[in-house]
Symmetry: C2
Subunit: 117 residues, 2 copies
DNA sequence: CAGAATCCCCAAGGATACTG
DNA sequence: CAGTATCCTTGGGGATTCTG
């Protein structure tokens, strides 16, 4: 039996929801091919709160998507990067982010047509 | 100035959030290359409520992603399909759904390692 | 700097009932 | 069949404060 995202009881549905989170795609996009620290991530991703960033990072780490490395120094120095599993997912979400940017105009035009007045 | 999903004030962020909705990816996945009626969509996507399906369809329609065709018959017959814009987005989300299915095992393994006991 | 903890609010979303 | 309307609950998520 293959995993099936159309099946609400299949684990792949959770995985999909993890990805569908408001911030996951942006975090993966930001970590594409580079390592960033907590503060750098927050600065890169405009509008994300510290709480949500931490929470998303924890979840993504638990799911094996990103790797967290804490250097034992004072003040703390924590680096986040993609795992191989994350590297395989990142390009897909990057594509989606790019699509959002590239097709913004078309979407806005559709909205105008659809909601006249 | 290019659209930038990292900018919280850029419209592309909304577009991304539209995609990031809990059901959008599944709906686009389900409509990949075919036309489905309301009830068929609900049957295909396990676990979605009628309310959420209708709501998501309305939003996707307003954003020019899907097309709604209501045949003037009794009882009502309404068909949903992708617009050209939707056709350009669908493959990307389909990839993400497939990734969720294909990498379910790895994610579950990572969770087990990460949360021992 | 990284993040844990707390408070609080609103929107997502489910369940149910009703309509053309 | 394809919705709309209503009620209600959950938790997503922001703001703020505190700590090693």
């Amino acid at each position: 039996m293959q995993p099936d995202v159309f099946d609400p009881n299949c684990g792949s549905r959770e995985v999909l929801n993890l990805i569908a989170g408001k911030w996951s795609a942006l975090i993966l996009y930001a970590l594409q091919g580079r390592t960033l620290r907590h503060a750098e991530l927050q600065r890169t991703i405009g509008g994300i709160s510290q709480k949500m960033l931490t929470q998303a990072l924890r979840t993504l780490e638990a799911d094996g998507i990103i790797q967290r490395v804490a250097l034992p120094v004072v003040p703390p120095h924590v680096e986040y990067s993609l795992t191989p599993l994350g590297e395989s997912l990142s390009p897909l979400l990057t594509e989606v982010c790019r699509w959002a940017q590239d097709n913004l105009t078309d979407v806005q035009a559709a909205r105008t047509v659809h909601a006249p007045g």
